[in-house]
Symmetry: C2
Subunit: 347 residues, 2 copies
Amino acid sequence: MSNHVVIMAGGIGSRFWPMSTPEYPKQFIDVLGCGKTLIQMTVERFAPICSYENMWVVTSALYVDIVKHQLPQLPAENILPEPAARNTAPCIAYACWKIKTRDADANIVVSPSDALVLDEPEYRRVINLALDFTAKSDTIVTIGIKPSRPETGYGYVYAENSDEGQELRKVSSFKEKPDYQTAEKYVADGNYLWNAGIFVWNVKTITDAMRKYAPQIASIMDEMSSDFDTPMESATVTLLFPTCEKISIDYAVMEKAEHIYTIPGTFGWSDLGSWGSLRINSEMDEKGNATIGSDVHMFECEGCVVRTSSLKKVILQGLDGYIIAEKDGSLLVCRLSEEQRIKEFTV
Amino acid sequence: MSNHVVIMAGGIGSRFWPMSTPEYPKQFIDVLGCGKTLIQMTVERFAPICSYENMWVVTSALYVDIVKHQLPQLPAENILPEPAARNTAPCIAYACWKIKTRDADANIVVSPSDALVLDEPEYRRVINLALDFTAKSDTIVTIGIKPSRPETGYGYVYAENSDEGQELRKVSSFKEKPDYQTAEKYVADGNYLWNAGIFVWNVKTITDAMRKYAPQIASIMDEMSSDFDTPMESATVTLLFPTCEKISIDYAVMEKAEHIYTIPGTFGWSDLGSWGSLRINSEMDEKGNATIGSDVHMFECEGCVVRTSSLKKVILQGLDGYIIAEKDGSLLVCRLSEEQRIKEFTV
């Protein structure tokens, strides 16, 4: 069985305005200032596991040119444009049906395009373990993350105890984003893991599961796939894909399917889903300021995250726990504690 | 006697970075967003009192082109470039010696270029009263401002009591910028006035006073003036002006001269010398924010002063008492309470 990787890159990054905009969202930005964008880091992370010919990116039609530009090593035909955003179930189905057309024995990893992994060798060890498992069984593996704090921004999975020395553990339930008290209980319990949105399965398992639990989507995919790799493909996808139900893979499949396993990962992971998590995962000065920008000078500032791009000189004084972000002539100064409201501010 | 107005426009505006820069300081900026720069407002304020032919601007050689551009109604030869900044005494001397060469009977008002006057008719009434007085007497009038608060950023003059109905009052002492407690006493006393840096005198009075109290400057002016209105003028001024003592008119003349009078002005005056005074003198929203800039949106912000020029969209949240200023790619976010340190920040 050969490995394939599906990278979901359809997010519009509205939480990171103005650094990230619907025209140029987060996954295409070098948010850590390391010289690589998040999607470039994601692709390189998988390179030792999967050939570029077997890597797939599903993204909005708007971002296809950005993906081609940032990932020239990928075959252009592996970039799959979604004519409309239908959440993760149709997105994943589209990629898996495409893979099935090319390789009926494919073993597949699905991953977001914009997460951070600190210990990449450990990450790949865990992914390979999952791939070995799904190569030989009709199972779904969702990579879990051992929680380091009672995070309310993630969903959780409950991993049943397994035999000594067995990393793979059966998942008995999925939990949506909890409130803080519940999250504290999950962390104390020890068997709850963060749901990182990284799935491993073989192509038969996922297409069968879709047929069983999401038949509306599966039948659209069957219809679409008859035109795959023909001149009609684009027109058919444009016509049919938007008729898919708008539903997440968690609701559509994971919460219903049997034989779901997880591996608790301890490779340093963040979805970089907030300015706060971006700050914590960036290099900080001794006062906890995470700064990227030219000629930025801070006086009596603490715990700030600063991202400027077109400003030439920046002087900040007396800011404690603020986001200061500028891109292409748009400026945000906002308390980190209020960052959930950024979407509302930018309407 | 004909009236002349001398406008001092040599300031480099370092307190208003980045709105004001040494390349384009405050007096040349529309800081109030009224469509006119401060120096344009100053010139228009005097227009009913003095012909443009008799208005003079003394400024740094660096700013001559800006002055010509902003004040096309003034004769180019009335713009006097200082080859070097020597404080106000040499600046005023240069203008007054120039005026003397052209008009030995001139009656002169000297004014800063960057102050705000709210009640212009009342201002002109006071100036005319002073001009009437200096036309007939060898006296110096310094316009005083009835203090509205114990301001520590201004010098004060002590005005002796005068006969009932007499607006002109003798000045018996000059006081430098006081500490807060002293300023409170001055305001309570009632006879102390802010020293606005607006002087009225005839050309004979000021040149005689300079000869007596600032003979080094006066003799340089005498030497310079022999080349005024000749092809040698520029070279001579460039050579000699920088040899003048660097001293303010207050130290050089006012604190030594006899026969100094004042008129307590109540025409709404501010030197706009700080972001705080700029905020107070600008149009504010119901939360005390004074904002000029395109597409600025504020949430939970109070008592801020915002000036943006090249930014296209600005979102500010949770800022209480801050300066947010941007110009040509430079950004400042700083507590208003710390604005005295802006010079230090920009070094």
